[in-house]
């Protein structure tokens, strides 16, 4: 079932289901995803975005409803995986993080790191980037991030993304979701045939990628003293590969799957 919905439209869900409190209705648990809003007073589900209305049965008695849409502006939702840029410190307790240029800053508490205590806190500088999960998002409160996997209490892949990788933006948020969540997407699989890479995809439109060994800044300084040029050659190759990969990922955004091979070849032509 899929249908194009505009904000304020009536949803093609059975009316009775919607008006009842979904949690209490036996046999019809509803989970709402992005683009939908449940009014607290009337208990109605209202679309807030334009897009394609999708419904999925996730468990036997549970329906998932969401609106698939494509936008460039990122609005934080709880449990989103994002890449944030540290832009400042608030009150010595938390970091101010920017998820997208020209948007409201969000908060990343210094306690929201694995093994962090009052005395042992992370030391992040302005301009560094972190991979984080949106732990709290709502209209009335400030959006919060955290760098812990809530199920294990470990880092779970979250945390500082180091400077050996390259960060770039993609326009379409739908594309980052496709890369991150669609297991059938062949884009990254195809890329892996050309180079070794490590990638972090934030669904706020930021992607961090490190091809090969990435930039190894510390190593280079040591080698520079001996005057050897081999290291800089290696680094130069990795930079070229990374830029080719970035070009490939950015261009795939506007192309159909049958063109991917072509773009890949074009991007890696000089290497």
């Amino acid at each position: 079932m899929s249908e194009i919905i505009l904000p304020g439209d009536k949803l093609p869900i059975h009316r009775a289901l919607v008006q009842e409190d979904p949690e209490n209705e036996a046999g019809s648990n509803i989970t709402i995803g992005p683009g939908l809003y449940k009014s607290i007073n009337s208990k109605q589900i209202i679309p807030t975005q334009a897009g394609i209305f999708e419904s999925k049965t996730i468990k036997r008695h549970e329906q998932l409803y969401y609106i698939e849409s494509n936008s460039s502006r990122y609005i934080p939702q709880t449990n989103d995986y994002v890449i944030g840029v540290i832009t400042g410190v608030i009150g010595g307790e938390s970091y101010k993080v920017s998820l997208q240029d020209f948007s409201n800053p969000v908060i990343l508490s210094m306690m929201a790191f694995p093994n962090a205590t009052k005395k042992n806190r992370p030391n992040l500088q302005n301009g560094q980037i972190v991979y984080a999960r949106v732990s709290n998002a709502g209209n009335e409160i400030e959006t919060e991030l955290e760098c812990i996997d809530p199920t294990t209490g470990k880092d779970g892949g979250f945390g500082l993304l180091d400077e050996s990788g390259f960060l770039f933006n993609v326009k379409s948020l739908n594309y980052t979701r496709e890369l991150l969540f669609n297991p059938n997407s062949t884009i990254l699989e195809k890329l892996s045939s050309r180079c070794k890479f490590e990638i972090a995809i934030g669904i706020n439109g930021k992607i961090w990628i490190k091809c090969g060994d990435g930039l190894n800044l510390n190593k280079m300084e040591v080698e520079d003293d001996n005057g050897s040029s081999t290291v800089s050659n290696d680094s130069s190759k990795d930079i070229k590969v990374t830029l080719a990969a970035v070009k490939y990922i950015t261009q795939c955004q506007h192309s159909s799957p049958d063109q991917f091979d072509n773009i890949l070849q074009q991007s890696f032509k000089d290497i």
């Binding site: 840029v85 390259f166 770039f168 830029l243």
Partner: protein, 310 residues
Amino acid sequence: MSRKIEITTNEKTYFIEALKNGIRLNGRQFNEMRTPSNIFLSKDEYGYIELEWGLTKISCRVSSFIRKPFEDRPFEGIFNINCEINSMASKQFENGKNSDEEVLISRIIEKSIRRSNSLDLESLCIISGEKVWSITVDLNFLNFDGNFIDIGCFGVMLALSHFKKPDITIINGGKDIIIHDINEREPQPLSILHIPICLTYSFYNTSQNVEENIKGESDEDAIYLLDCDYKEDLLKDGSIIITLNKNREIIQLSKNGGIPIDVNILLDLSLNSIKFVNELTDLIKTLIKDHEQQRFTELNLKLLQVGADR
């Protein structure tokens, strides 16, 4: 809401490392320009153009009216350039508020074109001390991807070359004038004396030791890029704007702070620039010529031509 583009340390280190290895993040050579694309010259309106230069996009409109000249310059027409940057181009520019950067952009464009006398103001005079043409250029930036100055200057010159003012006849011994409708008589182009072309070079300090470079002791670390995009613009340590024309005349050199530039580099830059200036000047000329030709055939103006071609 923040009005700043946050540039991350990752992007910065990667950019610098790439420069050290002779690579630009956008894949261009160090002195390679983006080429103007999607150039639109209006067919219905003289002096309206739109162009894209990479992702930067501008529109430019020339308009004219007749007014009394300034008291102290009775033989000269009036020429103004209005430059407007608003948040449509990029959110970093605030509406209705001129930041230092915006003022600088419009002043440099004005300095290159208006103060270099590229437009012959005396040819705009109709009756001295009474009536002159006033030419106004409105330059609007529609999208920002760096290098507003070069693109703005190119756009204004293209629009001025494209513009035509209505033909006039002076009657009653210089007391009155008739302004002929553009459909009645072929309008007249402006007399442009030379075409100034701005070229902006951005400088980057790749050395680890910043202080050393400020003193100007390690010249080999200074890297310069032509026609930077927005990211390169944010990361630059200094820039120089060279305005030249096809006659190999330097119209202006503008350097506003930033790291020092060696004299030899400056000479190299000026010499290298000639190539781009020739290219861009020729581009303006061919564009206008093609457009005229197209218009001539489309409107079948041959029918209206009187007399033999001289």
